[in-house]
């Protein structure tokens, strides 16, 4: 009898070159994405050591974190901040020096690495993909084993050897069965999961998301789920490839063509977890009970359904948790027992690698159509391709008419590396994935939620329950069901 294996185990085993006597595996990286981040530290060190890239064509550098989302036509000269301009130029120079392909600021495919990679078809089932970014698990939505690596030492190692040393994680399955209620999205599902595991709860595990709710999801929604695996503590999050995956991949640029395509699909179909394979840990979520979620604190686990109240630190039995909640509420300037829907906001942000794809923009636009945002805000599409598509559909006009800024693509206000930050003391309803202290700017307060919930908050001027905010949501309900799929 052959051994029953999980999706994760199959791909991991396929990539082990050697195992050290201490039990660490040397894994082959089929492909590596590089962002500007701290990568200059890696390149500086490689230069000092006189090392080169072993397989330059199996890397793609993408400028995303530091690019301002306006004035692109002027090139680097249009970047006002000298330090930011410097970081952008460093990645261009380092890519040239090490002969690595690079999507720079004015490239027609520019965007956030975790949007662009899948969009171009680089991220395929069965591949081992690395990137110097903690949200690399996003590519796992395609049934790839996508692993975040450190921006300096591990990246240096992957560039020099096309491999990475890793300890095999344990396996966890998150089973989400049932149909999601109206207006409930993938973002609400992953926040529900994180609320359950806590921010460190999946540390040391590779997560596989499965169940009928996942099977019913679009690739965009699956990427939203996998993206936030790291917020539960897991570096790896993945979903078995299926017909939805193959259909999505079929017309992407980098995927196999002709006879190779058929061979690839046949191989990809062998990847899903075998019946009877055992996971080290399993969590079950009832999809029918998931509600629209928001975060109220300074960690993604500080989340709750929108129709609730700000928690009271005194209500937590765990001392450490109570202390965190108190500190979080101080930072967020919130009083216990306040209704979430009574929390006023100062600004909105729609963008980031978790929720900036075309489907996300459609769902926000559906809410904003014919309505005004009462607070300022900006929309940054996940890639230049997404931007073009949104403009072709007239979504940009809907956002502009609502009073929001329509920008170029990049990480932008997700972490403010590019200088676009939420001002101190401002409260932002945001489609992003992190709400740590200072994440969007010093003393900025972040509430994470889905794109449609951000749009609802923009119109209401306070956190709002998408299910009860608008009485005649004719354009909305059509799209809400699209989002659920």
């Amino acid at each position: 009898m052959t051994e029953k294996k999980t999706l994760f185990q199959k791909i991991w085993d396929e990539h082990v070159i050697v195992t050290s006597p201490q039990g660490e595996d040397l894994l082959y990286a089929d492909f590596n994405f590089i962002n500007e981040g701290q990568s200059f530290l890696a390149f500086d060190q490689l230069r000092i050591e006189g090392r080169e890239s072993l397989r330059p064509q199996q890397h793609l550098a993408i400028t995303d974190h530091y690019l301002p989302t306006k004035n692109r036509e002027r090139g680097p000269a249009g970047i006002e901040d000298k330090e930011i301009r410097n970081v952008v130029e460093m990645l261009a120079n380092n890519s040239t020096d090490f002969a690595l392909p690079h999507i720079n600021m004015n490239h027609p495919k520019q965007g956030i690495a975790h949007v662009v990679g899948p969009e171009l078809g680089f991220s395929q089932p069965g591949m081992l993909i690395t990137c110097n970014d903690s949200h690399t698990a996003t590519h796992g939505a395609y049934g790839a084993l996508a692993i975040p690596i450190g921006g300096s030492n591990q990246l240096r190692h992957v560039i020099a050897t096309q491999t990475v040393w890793l300890h095999r994680p344990k396996t966890m399955r998150v089973l989400i069965d049932g149909t999601l209620p109206e207006s409930v999205t993938a973002k609400d599902v992953i926040l529900t999961i994180i609320g359950k595991t806590g921010i460190g709860g999946a540390t040391g595990y590779a997560i596989e998301y499965a169940g009928t709710a996942i099977s019913a999801m679009s690739m965009e929604a699956r990427m939203t789920i996998c993206n936030m695996s790291i917020e539960a503590g897991a570096r790896i999050g993945m979903i078995a490839p299926d017909e939805t995956t193959f259909k999505d991949l079929s017309n992407r640029l980098m995927v196999p063509k002709g006879a190779d395509w058929d061979k690839a699909v046949a191989y990809w179909k062998t990847l899903p977890t075998d019946d009877g394979a055992v996971f080290d840990h399993e969590i079950r979520i009832d999809a029918t009970e998931v509600a629209p979620m928001i975060t109220w604190g300074t960690s993604p686990e500080d989340c709750a359904p929108i129709d609730g109240l700000v928690p009271d630190p005194a209500s937590f039995a765990d001392v450490e948790r109570a202390r965190h909640v108190k500190r979080a509420l101080d930072y967020m300037n919130l009083k216990p027992k306040t209704r979430f829907v009574d929390i006023p906001i100062d600004r909105v942000f729609i963008g980031s690698c978790v929720n900036s794809r075309i489907e996300d923009l459609r769902s926000a636009a559906a809410v904003l159509k014919g309505r005004k945002s009462v607070v300022p805000g900006m929309v940054s599409p996940g890639s230049t391709d997404v931007k073009r598509q949104a403009e072709a559909e007239g979504l940009d006009q809907i956002f502009r008419d609502a009073g929001l800024d329509w920008r170029d693509s990049g990480c932008s206000m997700c972490n403010g590396s590019n200088g676009e930050i939420v001002a101190a003391g401002e409260r932002c309803a945001s489609t992003t994935n992190r709400n740590f202290e200072g994440r969007q700017g010093r003393n900025a307060m972040t509430h994470i939620m889905s794109p449609s919930m951000v749009a609802a908050a923009a119109v209401a001027g306070h956190l709002a329950d998408i299910r009860h905010t608008f009485d005649t949501p004719s354009s909305f309900s059509a799209s809400a069901s699209a989002v659920r799929n």
Binding site: Q22, L26, Y28, F31, Q58, G151, S299, R442
Partner: protein
Amino acid sequence: MQPFTVLTATAVPLEIAKIDTGMILPGRFMRRHRRPGHDYSEAFLYDLRFDEKGHPRPEFSLNQPSYSKASIVVTGADFGCGSSREGAAYAVMDYGFRALVGPSFAEIFYGNCLQNGILPVVLPELTISEIWEQLRAKPGVELTIDLPDQVLIDADGRRHPFDINPLRKDRLIHGIDDIDVTLEHKEAIIDFETTRRKAFPWLPTSANI
């Protein structure tokens, strides 16, 4: 990489949980080149150490003179959570710390520390609280961390064994870099690659677009 064997040094208590990488190295410092003499020591926990006007917060432990020589930090749970910014480990190192002691560390940060010659030591929460008390009672007191023996000796002389991956331990003790180790397997890597490309000829081998 600087080898780590036995360290006896002043320890400073940092009684906060969930110190994330954005607090350790605030985003606005990450744009800086890191060179000798212009490193990340200034950036380390900047917003905790200084107020809005840039004045040191006197109540913050790291600002207190008795802890000024510390090379060990004893911290709350989940230190290093947040984004995988490796500069956070450099900030810890540049500030002068060789070891971190806490109930838990974020996984990526933990690995980054070991790669940079910093030893993170995981001990039970109760032990951490006891050590905090010792450090508060006798500010400036020393702890000993013995990596070969995998034991921390607290200010009262009590021994607390800790776990560490044997491979990481070995490389940390000898200060050996990962690439050196990997290149001993270069032939195996090339063979593996050749076989893989034959089996899966469609895998991207050109990323020029």
